[in-house]
Assembly symmetry: C2
Homo-oligomer: 713 residues x 2
Amino acid sequence: MTQLTTPGDDAAVVTPSATPSAESPASPGAKARIDVGEITRLLGGRWWNLRKEARDLALDPRMQKIEGLGHLEHRDRVLEQLKLLTEIGNPHRAFPKHLGGEDEHGASLAVFEELVVSDPSLQIKAGVQWGLFASAILHLGTPEQHDRFLPGALDVSVPGAFAMTERGHGSDVAGVLTTATFDPETDEIVIHTPVEAAQKEYLGNAAAHGEAAVVFAQLIVGGVNHGVHAVYVPIRARGEDGALSLLPGVGSSDDGLKGGLNGIDNGRLWFDHVRVPRTNLLPRYGAISDDGVYSSPIASPGRRFFTMLSTLVQGRVSLTNASTGAARMALAIAVNHANSRHQFTGAGEEEVVLLDYRRHQRRLLPRLARTYALSFLGADLLERFDDVFSGRHDSDEHRQDLETLAAAAKPLASWNALDTVQECREACGGAGYMAENRLTGLHHDFDVYATFEGDNNVLLQLVGKRLLTDHGKEMMKMDVAGTARWVAARAADAALHRTPLRRAAQSIRDSGSKARSAGHLRSADAQRELLEDRVETMVEEITLGLRASRGADDATAFAVFNEHQDQIIAAARAHGELLAWEAFTDALTRVRDNDTRDLLRTVRDLYGLTVIESDLAWFLTNGRMTAQRAKTVTSYVDRLLVRLRPHAQALVDAFAYSPEHLRAPLAGPGEALRHAEAEAYARRQRANGEAPIDEKTLNARLAKRAEATATVE
Amino acid sequence: MTQLTTPGDDAAVVTPSATPSAESPASPGAKARIDVGEITRLLGGRWWNLRKEARDLALDPRMQKIEGLGHLEHRDRVLEQLKLLTEIGNPHRAFPKHLGGEDEHGASLAVFEELVVSDPSLQIKAGVQWGLFASAILHLGTPEQHDRFLPGALDVSVPGAFAMTERGHGSDVAGVLTTATFDPETDEIVIHTPVEAAQKEYLGNAAAHGEAAVVFAQLIVGGVNHGVHAVYVPIRARGEDGALSLLPGVGSSDDGLKGGLNGIDNGRLWFDHVRVPRTNLLPRYGAISDDGVYSSPIASPGRRFFTMLSTLVQGRVSLTNASTGAARMALAIAVNHANSRHQFTGAGEEEVVLLDYRRHQRRLLPRLARTYALSFLGADLLERFDDVFSGRHDSDEHRQDLETLAAAAKPLASWNALDTVQECREACGGAGYMAENRLTGLHHDFDVYATFEGDNNVLLQLVGKRLLTDHGKEMMKMDVAGTARWVAARAADAALHRTPLRRAAQSIRDSGSKARSAGHLRSADAQRELLEDRVETMVEEITLGLRASRGADDATAFAVFNEHQDQIIAAARAHGELLAWEAFTDALTRVRDNDTRDLLRTVRDLYGLTVIESDLAWFLTNGRMTAQRAKTVTSYVDRLLVRLRPHAQALVDAFAYSPEHLRAPLAGPGEALRHAEAEAYARRQRANGEAPIDEKTLNARLAKRAEATATVE
């Protein structure tokens, strides 16, 4: 069994074929020398060294998740880990220098993402405290407020809740019902929960640890509702006995046990006319002056709301990369197991190692390729985040692009994590179901990543709308006649795709051998063309379909949009897949070693081809591919599996999780040792003549002897 | 919000459009009168009355799962529930009358399947005790052994383990390494674990409660290995203090925390030359005579092994139906929620109920249709099981068909449970992640159903091989020339599918309107033809592909098989989908009420069409469908969603889980009440003139006034 190593900075060069082990022919037939260290650094991105340090925090037993801890003990442990981080982890990197930070945004998130290796609950608890609570103060507050509120938030002496979601309004933040009413008499803001649906819900730090909250509420000044704004509200204080209790007017309840992430004390908060000074309003996008007048640097309430939310994009960025990290860990565990576990005999008496089965390759390798693609997409996303938040490329357009990218990447990455972790769990059989092997815990914890910080479907719809708007702009530039012509041209084009004409034309191009077609699919240009064309055509079709809503009444317009909702989300997903493919392709240009680049190109091809394969019906029904060429896709994917199989171990070794990071016995040497012991026992028995003879073999011998006897007679 | 009811035996007739509630227009536009009670009885199958009783056992608080209980307490609770079942649940129905049973096999399993409503751990614990441990004694033992071993097994005074799986051999049971060696000197059998890989693993009752085990081991008599046989082995005894301790030579360890099913004490067992009397061998398929001679009623060791395993098919039958039960519960929870939860405004100010969104319909309704199909398939499977085990239709062929059906149904049902529960969890957002709402717990518990009692992929491969063998038989009947002709004919046919000829022919048939094509797809004959043709063609293609292995050496033969492994499993899955479709279609003929039958036919169409849609590329690349017709599939599915949406509530109400069965607050009336409270609050504010004016509205008014002023000036 190949040892798990952390190639990291030492450019470990592995020649798989040169290091076969008796226990596991991890890499039969591999000829290429693969620079595992180079892949590790490529995946790690700009902040790999910091990532490595953060990952190694998990080597400290105090920082490790204990499976099966009761949820109350788990919460306390994670709170202690959070405090420990302030000593050993430098979690303030994103904050201003005068507050002990370094003004480094991308680096800071990179570190948080790696906390998943310790315990996903810790990543989220840190995300609540520094990424949401403290960041809201930083991004929405004044310098005076930074000095007043941030020190406690940063050193965790004031654990804080981020009170946005309500029981009645989850993804629909604009609809929250909590009110923050300015009272000019007392110069205070009154926070109030008018109905049960307005109770703040699912908030980390709300059930037990929180002492303050950033509360999002409809800000009402002089009878005018200025929309959602954030207010800093103390919620608990310590009594003389040191115990925390709720402040007057504040209510709270405990969400109790969850499907996972039980190291977080999620709960509800509600307010009965709780008063805070006017100066607790975080006023960056909406302030109340000393004489009680509301003003905002952004005139449009809608744009103001979205701008305010955009400062919180980092949550989606870090969930994206944390999710892909979970997928990488699961694959490292499952591929190690698949390279050491034998089951059923193949040719002859020898049992076959799991990863030599085609089905097992099909289950793990395309997910490995997708996880590579999403790793590169996530690294790009983080760099763009840093570009915007460092101020290097901070414009409305860059912010919007960043948000759209995050809204596309987070759903793809969180679903990939769930799908990959689950397949890895099943691919490890019963052992995969044991909590000690961490796969089930990863699934339990990451389950909620699909619906928090923006439900995945809602986020993709956002991306889809953005794609349509971009398209709409193009149309808006045209005059009426031009638009009509444009639509007519597109409509004619669509008709062409529906008729066999285009397919017939392609049939001619495709008349060469299957091999030539497969070769064609391997070219990056062909893959890009197919993936780009898919997004563009989907968007065009939706645009045409939505035309029915022009000038229609509200009910009809909604009905027309609703009819296309599924297609809009499908287009957004296709867009995300294209972006991941592009990020992977772009990363290839940065690989120096030729063999390593060839290997990664094969992984990229597997990603591209399996994306195309998964939507093959689209390419066929839209005349983008003949049946003939489509048939080559699957056989070409099979060929890629054969080519990649010898390198599967190197490809997960490059993730650079050591056995101490993974802490999964099933990924350790035990399986190979047990197999070797069983084989040695059988050999010894045979050598000693102690092995019983199989009844079948005996029967065959007896039959032969009887035959011989009969012949003699 | 429509109240959850248990229509059960009273033929509750629901006219959705006549009972709209202010809170939730669960069924807008529905005209048909649906006989929910008839659907309930149809789904419940032959033993619905018994099922209902068993389901109602879960109304007893002592029988309910407590989420978040520590795993040690959970185990004790489930053991108590098991004992309680012997008082209130009649778990001995399948056993002979003279032992207190009723010789009723199907009825007995129907009852066990419903234990999932109490706690999936209880279903599995009951399955271990009565379905595996006691059933192995029943099916493999002698009447004398029944009298000796069954009373303790049945009344749970002797909790027992079913010791089949080993650390080194999971699905590959034939490869187990534990030995059972006959010692003629003492007339004993010596049970031994020669290597670590031979330790028995993941056994329920092994870690703590078990006092005996049925151990599967290689039976060696006089130096001959007769293959895997079962031996009854005591493992623990109570000391004078009443505490259990392991018997000499028996080792055990605790598997500890798992991803779910933590009410079961799974663990390992191993044996160091443990001796039991020869009369503890369960000898139905292999006995040792008083003078130490082995004999078996089945000459072939291979067939003997499979025959022995076939007596245990009930495990797969009950996992199939338990899985589909979990999917039904999840859908009942998620559809109730989707019919009461509002999010985002649609046309005008009103917020839209989740299930009115197309995307939400797409997420839930096809899974609802699949769960219906698998419910009918599971009911058929159970009846066939009863036919065989009651002796009514007990022949080799019927047994083999039963096994093949179970091997196809269990993977489809367990994967459907995981996929459906997960989608329902996500469709319920944050609330779905709360343990109290049971969706995460169902996923945690059912996760392992995909890999135990036969790994799903291994089972499907078994089905695939059976499909090929049937095909092979057809070929075997022919002489050489006939075979050659047969293959040649098929090869020509395959070529025809690859060329545009067949497609061209179909194009002509398809030249009518989209509507006509869609109408065509709605016909049962068209769906059946497509689904049958898919299985047959897949099997033919694999058969042709495997020809390369004829006469080849072992290594080549394995390589050829391995190349087709994925296709073999795909064919098996397609076969299972066809069987589920057929079971559904067959069930329709038993519906008396016309409107109800029409509704269920629409559900069946949704199942059939989404199966076809999910493999549309296959139908296209194999020339079974033109691009033109393929495009109508998705639009027709959309139409079915619109048609079914008003009946979604009735379709889950027909599952007949009361709120007390579901025990999920999110499926209760709370959400609708909170929404109504918020609406009433807003109305009251507007009526009182207390509502603040929105900044946007104010700005518009001010702009208008300014304009008016400007005009006056």
